[in-house]
Amino acid sequence: MNSMSTRALAVARPVIQGLTVLNILYAVCITLLLAATFVMPGWMEKALGLDLVSKYPLVPIGLRAIVVTGVIGAAIVHAILRRLLAIVDTVRGGDPFILENAQRLDAIAWRVVALEGLRLVVIAIAAAVWEPGRLDGFSLAPWLAVLMLFVLSGVFAHGARMRADLEGTV
């Protein structure tokens, strides 16, 4: 393991824990925001000095739907961070090539797919209630990340099998 990856591993745990806390805070804040749109309708537009509702009457409903999508996204990110932390712990413990890590990487890959799906949902909602094309569409990077995660999952599964073979080799 080179010095860069050793340093990255050393900071990974606190960074993931910090991100987990930030993600929970984000989920709480947008949930409160969602509740506020029901208790005090129109306050956000007033606070921002925007008058979108007169031109786009479906915007409040669309914003609520986007906030719900955001809460779902936060739950997915939480699941990803928990699995990532478990993987980092196994690396720190010196035993990363286990089938559980391959399953975790597989689960992370599917959750990144779900997040990308949610992003497309947000774009679709924005296009429906606001103006089509206002939010960006397709991005290659998340799909490359998904591909890399599936490949890594396969590498870990293979590594786990090889390690199991080596364990009984004299």
Binding site: D165, E167, G168, T169, V170
Partner: protein
């Protein structure tokens, strides 16, 4: 497993202990013990060569196949 390890017989014939063999071939006693008790899944050629050199025997003296025994899988 249908493969039988006859390390114990070879050691007994040469009045050698497992600890002595481990010291001669530079393999841990724990690993040799795994081999002796038939718990090993595989054996490296280098290990086999070292044991055969130390015990002055052939691989066939150490390993045997008994089809009556159940296979690992």
């Amino acid at each position: 497993m249908a493969i039988i390890v006859r390390l114990d017989e070879q050691l007994h014939a040469r009045r050698m202990t497992l600890t002595e063999l481990a010291a001669r071939i530079d393999i841990t006693l724990a690993n040799l013990s795994i081999l002796k008790t038939g718990k090993a899944k595989a054996i490296r050629f280098s290990t086999l060569e070292a044991i055969c050199t130390a015990l002055e025997c052939q691989p066939g003296d150490l390993l045997a196949f008994d089809p009556a025994l159940p296979s690992e899988e």
